[in-house]
């Protein structure tokens, strides 16, 4: 087999694999409900955590509308939607807030509940959580004493 044919074969194979996976499931953004679904997820999540006495302290006196808009933009961007996240990095936005691991997982649990209530599939839920998981190291304060 010459190099040229091999390259051609490899290219068509990867094209086939891509086509097959695209056919198997729609982009994550669509499975989250597109613009409307993502906005609703972000709104519910921020409302829920801000109103939760165990999680709300770092949202006190903050502009919740702005956080909701930026969170929706971030989820849209991460899930392959037509957005570009314009906010600060997770490290910058959480610096000094002393976010504990319990607070981080509390918010994750709320997100899971919201996705479940909105009938987002288990596959899409896991995919979204997998995209968000690496942010933990920038959000949670190392050896944080938790809420003071």
């Amino acid at each position: 087999m010459t190099a040229v044919t091999f390259r051609g074969w490899a290219a068509s194979l990867s094209w086939l694999v891509l086509a097959a996976s695209a056919q198997a499931r729609a982009p994550l953004y669509e499975r989250l409900g597109g613009a409307e679904g993502v906005a609703a997820i972000a709104n519910s999540l921020i409302d829920r955590v801000a109103g939760d006495p165990r999680l709300g302290r770092s949202f006190k006196d903050t502009n919740l509308k702005r956080i909701k808009t930026l969170l929706a933009e971030q989820i849209c961007d991460l899930s392959g939607g037509p957005c570009h996240y314009s906010g600060d990095s997770m490290k910058e936005s959480h610096a000094g807030q002393q976010i504990s691991e319990a607070e981080f997982y509390g918010m994750v649990a709320d997100l899971r509940d919201i996705l479940h209530e909105r009938h987002v599939s288990q596959g899409a839920t896991n995919e979204l959580l997998r995209l968000l998981a690496p942010m933990k190291r920038d959000i949670v304060e190392p050896r944080s004493p938790g809420p003071r």
């Binding site: 006196d61 903050t62 502009n63 702005r66 600060d88 910058e92 936005s93 610096a95 000094g96 807030q97």
Partner: protein, 208 residues
């Protein structure tokens, strides 16, 4: 002491004495209606017969416990204002006021670029992240200004001359008409009534 040093010293003292001789104490007392305070009422004296030299002042507006400190400032046109951040969290200071439009990201522990207030007028500051934070910067073309203390009183030392007195407070329910003031040799006392709204719904217009 050399004769040169003595001469210089005498010239300095002389200049100070001359300056002091020209400055006349002007006491302003602002009185609010019962239940309201005239504290921080802004008093601006614009000279009508002299042009004061441009200033190169600096000022600081800090962020402490999700508040701007001070909440109200008056600065001369051209003043360079530094925005430190004493909080452990970030802030995003902005202004949409025509006198100065800017946005400044303040991260805990890292200094930000100072902002030059180069046009006279009122600048209202907010924070994108904490929408209840608000501060006011009155930018004026005169070095003669003051803010009333808790008793509504302010004392200024003004060179003799004619001035226009402008009065402002963010919670003024009705504007205070600007008035002409003549400062002569004798100390001067000015009494003002200010209608301060205890629960204002809007920011009072800036007296241009």
């Amino acid at each position: 002491m050399s004769s040169f040093a003595r001469k210089t010293w005498l010239t300095c003292v002389g200049a100070l004495w001359l300056h002091a001789a020209h400055a006349v104490p002007v006491t302003v007392t602002a009185t609010a209606k019962p239940g309201a305070s005239a504290e921080n009422t802004v008093l601006i004296f614009d000279p009508l017969n002299a042009t004061p030299a441009a200033g190169h002042d600096t000022a600081i507006i800090d962020q402490i416990d999700k508040r701007f400190v001070p909440r109200i400032s008056v600065v001369r046109t051209g003043t360079v204002v530094t925005f430190p951040n004493s909080d452990h969290i970030r802030h995003q200071v902005y202004s949409f006021s025509p006198a100065k439009v800017f946005q400044l990201k303040l991260y805990a522990g890292s200094p930000s670029t100072p902002v030059t207030f180069d046009k006279p007028g009122l600048v209202v500051l907010g924070c994108n992240i904490h929408d209840r934070m608000v501060a006011f910067v009155g930018v004026v073309d005169t070095p003669y200004f003051a803010m009333a203390d808790a008793a509504g009183k302010a004392v200024l030392n003004l060179p003799a001359g004619r001035y226009r007195l402008r009065v402002w407070h963010p919670a003024l329910a009705s504007p205070v008409a600007s008035r002409e003031v003549t400062v002569d040799k004798a100390p001067l006392t000015i009494e003002l009534n200010v209608d301060i709204d205890a629960a204002p719904s809007a920011v009072a217009d800036w007296p241009e």
